[in-house]
Point group: C2
Chain length 679, copies 2
């Protein structure tokens, strides 16, 4: 059952194309001063985190995204991959650095012109100029197009006047704002000559040299949060704050001295989405950071599960460890499979991120795909991280709740990942809309074969729905996969077909249900949309799950070492069958999976998890982390030492003449004797 | 759709028999000094929590469980119900008070004799004598029978010698230990005359008057945890610590001066379980506390969801609130239904707790039922609380992550509830064993009709399994519920039948699968058990879910007000159909639910959630909490104020001549004009 695996070789596959950057990030994360400490108060945690940000600046990683003429390499994923690994030091560090270099610096890079790059970008990426990214407002969480802050051009002074018109327009949850930022990229409605040209980004100084708020700028501290103690989130409000005209980051929209607006993108809608699209890096990096956090949690829980033995005083030779238990395997091994799938999916995301931003393929299609995937993966991976970390924490029992074992801290910090940089439910609706759009397009341009396939699916689905004739569906499915044995349930083709069919049927179904909306008045259309909101979100999740499964399947097929390929296949099947089990009701209802096969899934998963558990240590060792990254007492070997000591005690004690006899044994012996006497 | 409900009347139903005690607990929780504060450091949080414990002592609630001759009322549930409500002030307070009065005092009450009550119990329940409950050891989390600490009787001095033989035997996670306890009830193996009589409880002083550890006692501080900052958990180890013979809490086992052991319960196994059984209060109170924490979270999230409008700058009259969204309803309303079901199930648990401990019915059957339910409900409710609080936190977006809105703090504190007082997975296996035991007993003594029923179920299940003939099962199920319309899916009988059948079939199936284990060698039997561990746990969860559903169903039937009954029915159906949807694959695979009906469940749930949302405010208002209990900025009305201000701004602005026109609108108008000119 146990395979012969080389963790180092698997690590190469996991670390992938940006291995070098990852290793640099991990080296930085070994520096003790970057590590979070639950005993730190708010000020200490923030100061330490800022020091960490400065150390990151010193690595030079934040400069790699710049053009060669500015000292960069026009490499975008390197930076992201490196940063992601700093989650192992402290998620606050990853986030605060993300705000500084990815959002603040990134906005200047992507939305500013060369002059603005010269003025601010080098200072930003070297940490000399600390900044905020002021997009979110209290009243508009995920609805950026409607932020209420205004930037009105004043021809007389050639300045923009930044204004927070009411309390709900206050910029909220802004990282770096409460303590460190000297400037902020502020998103506001650009108004000139009485016309509102939509949301644009402005460079606004918020504190003077002494750290005092600039005139007209009010700053509040968000104080304590559920985690991320080292990030100084705060609120920014502007009372007629004047900035030079040239502080408008003008790549996608500019205003001349006399107040004339111009933009290379005519449509205000497309202009807005293009601007936002350049900021996709945040979502990409949260996807990756979630994978890293999940890896660390599993690394800790698996090591503890393999070390902690459940021996009793009566039987100190029993070598059952926690991870020998069926339920423990079912808790941790599917999590391990999901993390592998997500890691490979993230690698693909990074690749298209690099293609788009380095210019190898910045076609509109590729950009759209990148944005869709970033939204989808971010949503799925951040939720996965919370689930995985929590499962690990519970699998470690009371020890899992101790701060010194890190799991609770990781979970607390990662919590907000599911609602920031786009609330997950909002992101998934975005993905759903893209899926429907692609479906409609495909439908329009489809050749006959393809159309028939879609129509076929749809018709089958519809017939089923109306008639409730499950057998019709089952017959189709059985024809598709006839006489499946146990082995065949682990067939990649079957898994793929099930995952794909589910997505296709869902998309076709929702598309059909929503079609009338196009001809309805807005309010009625909104109602119809609302009725199907839950399905839209489920559909988007089905998309991510398929994408992640495919990433793992592809990587499996690349493996040349027989045992390594086998391990990857176990991971793929555990992930795939786990998804099919999760959505089993759907597959049954839509007749895609015969009952007899469905019944085998639970047992097959039990067996797969047991097999994976046999190589669990190799598979977490392959993440490439050391004790310094884990920093969890329970994963340090102390448990094994204690248990050896205990076993030794009993061994020696039992050899003693005066070792007490158990009352239970005396009673048993007495009973036997009484019985013998009675005979 | 909206019903006319009286929150006060529903509150009476929810608060139930122990309403008075609940209100006393809530009044105490209004005291600002008891409230947790994320800014407190460890020392401050602990000191404040201790003050709160003292205030609880002053209420006299901890004395109610004592006998009348000691100034009590022999009322047990009163105390528990009152305590549960203090979760609204600070879960640390509930836990630290639980350690002091429920575990430390409770152990003296239930395991000690009258003399020992006189010596320690009044002091414990008045807070004059602070104590720990030292059961768990590092090496034995949930396996209490095998704790390694020894208490060896020394005839020469008439003392017990308490010993921690090795590091893994250190008492761990002990509440009150790190800072406040002067004494501890220590669970240790009683050894006298060379015989080990199993685990007994001993009263052991651990600190002197000055607060210094007693000679031979080592105390370590567990430091920071994932939450419960106000509870001073720590480790206790004993190096030949001598205590008088009379410090053995001797109700179920005593040692005479010459070292002779005696017990009113002959069987060491039964003796152990009887002792442990008296300590069920901890689990009972965690079940209730989880319900209270979930109520507060929902109270906050629902109020915010009703207040926060998603209007845009362009349309300030749109009055869509978050809770108008389908997905938002699907997030919060099933949680609301689960909390109602759990509240009523908890009331039943409290009732049997009172029956057993006040003596109205302390039969072995009733004790066993109490213990089974306490384990089952505690496991389900503590997990429910984590899910509900997290769903609420995410439903509030970024605001949900701010400490000032309380959700993150509640979740962090409640986290450990799922693994302490018995790890949930261990508790559920306990429940599963009881279910199998009952099944076997019933099977043995069953009359023919009953046996036929079981055999019938089993046979059907078995046939299905072997043949994969879903239709056989479906035919049965269709016969059972012919021609179900939409309404009939909401039939209580159908829901109950589905929930019951699932449990019965699972029990029968697992029983059959495990039957060979009784004749196997231990290791092989353990392997077989291990293969079915996952199913055992699922089976136990099916039991709790049915019990909770029944509690809600019964309470629904008691309602006389038509609208109130209707609201309860919506809650019951949401809870019931939610469970059926969750386990839909099972119901389909076992042919219990026809496909055509299964397909309706999602839509029916959508509709039910929408209906419940119409009365959401009434249903959370009925929890009986005030702003002081919620203490969440977002639930205080501030959001509505901000939004009114924003709407007002736009209304006034639009009336102005110089209000900027949207570029989009200009473009639209220009296009129209161009078209008109072209015609």
């Amino acid at each position: 059952m146990k395979l012969s695996l080389d963790p180092k070789a698997i690590n190469d596959v996991l670390d992938g194309h940006w291995a070098e950057a990852r290793r640099r990030g991990r080296t930085l994360a070994e520096e003790p001063s970057t590590h979070d400490d639950p005993a730190d108060d708010l000020d200490t945690a923030r100061a330490k985190t800022l020091d960490g940000v400065m150390m990151m600046a010193e690595t030079g990683l934040p400069m790699t995204g710049l053009s060669p003429e500015m000292g960069g390499k026009n490499e975008h994923a390197t930076n992201v991959a490196g940063f992601e690994e700093t989650v192992t030091a402290n998620p606050s560090l990853q986030i605060k650095a993300g705000v500084q270099f990815g959002l603040f610096g990134g906005a200047i890079l992507h939305l500013g012109d060369k002059e603005q790059h010269q003025k601010w970008l080098l200072d930003a990426q070297s940490g000399r100029l600390l900044g905020s990214f002021a997009m979110t407002e209290i009243g508009h969480g995920s609805d950026v197009a409607n932020v209420a802050t205004t930037a009105t051009y004043d021809e007389a002074t050639e300045e923009f006047v930044i204004e927070t018109p009411f309390r709900a327009a206050t910029k909220e949850y802004i990282g770096n704002a409460a303590r460190d930022a000297r400037a902020a990229v502020v998103f506001a409605q650009l108004i000139t000559k009485g016309v509102k040209h939509g949301v644009h980004a402005f460079f606004v100084p918020v504190r003077d040299e002494a750290g005092e708020p600039m005139p007209g700028v009010s700053i509040e501290d968000d104080g304590y949060k559920g985690g991320l103690k080292g990030v100084d989130n705060g609120r920014l409000a502007f009372d007629s704050v004047r900035i030079p005209r040239t502080n408008l980051l003008n790549r996608y929209g500019d205003v001349t001295a006399d107040g004339t607006y111009s933009s290379p993108i005519e449509s205000p809608g497309r202009r807005f989405f293009t601007m936002l699209g350049t900021l996709v890096q945040g979502r990409v990096s949260l996807d990756g950071a979630s994978v890293v956090a999940s890896k660390i949690a599993l690394d800790i829980a698996v090591r503890y599960g393999l070390e902690r033995k459940q021996f009793t005083a009566g039987d100190d030779f029993a070598e059952t460890t926690l991870l020998d238990y069926g339920q423990h395997q079912r808790r941790l091994m599917p999590a391990l499979a999901a993390v592998y799938a997500s890691a490979f999916a993230h690698e693909k995301l990074l690749t298209s991120f690099e293609e788009v931003f380095a210019g190898a393929d910045d076609s509109e299609e590729n950009r759209a795909l990148l944005e869709t995937r970033a939204a989808a993966f971010k949503a799925d991976s951040t939720w996965m991280a919370l689930d995985v970390i929590q499962e690990c924490r519970e699998a470690c029992g009371g020890a899992g709740f101790m701060a010194e074992n890190r799991l609770v801290g990781l979970r607390a910090d990662l919590d907000v990942y599911v609602t920031f940089e786009g609330d997950n439910t909002v992101l998934l609706q975005l993905v759903a809309k893209r899926l429907l759009g692609d479906y409609a397009k495909e439908f329009a341009n489809l050749d006959v074969g393809g159309a028939a396939r879609f129509i076929g699916t749809q018709a089958a689905e519809h017939t089923l729905y109306r008639t409730g004739l499950a057998n019709a569906g089952r017959a189709i499915s059985d024809a598709l996969t006839p006489n499946l044995g146990d082995k065949r349930i682990r067939s990649g083709r079957l898994q793929r077909t099930l995952l794909e069919t589910r997505l296709e049927v869902m998309v076709a179904g929702v598309a059909q249900a929503l079609r009338p909306a196009t001809k309805m008045p807005a309010a009625q259309a909104a109602d119809l949309f609302n009725v199907h909101q839950h399905e839209l979100i489920e559909m988007a999740r089905a998309y991510v799950e398929l994408e992640k499964w495919k990433a793992l399947d592809e990587k499996m097929k690349e493996q040349t070492d027989a045992d390594q390929a086998k391990a990857f296949r176990r991971l793929r099947d555990t992930y795939g069958l786990g998804l099919i089990e999760k959505h089993m009701a759907w597959h049954l209802m839509y007749g895609r999976l015969p009952m007899s096969r469905a019944r085998q899934i639970n047992e097959t998963l039990n067996r797969l998890c047991k097999k994976l558990a046999a190589n669990a240590l190799d598979l977490v060792e392959a993440f490439g982390y050391s004790d310094v990254h884990r920093r969890a007492t329970i994963a340090s070997g102390v448990e094994a030492e204690r248990q050896a000591e205990a076993a030794d005690y009993y061994r020696r004690a039992r050899a003693r003449q005066d070792f007490p006899v158990d009352e239970k044994q005396l009673r048993k012996a007495a009973k036997k004797k009484a019985k013998a006497a009675a005979r």
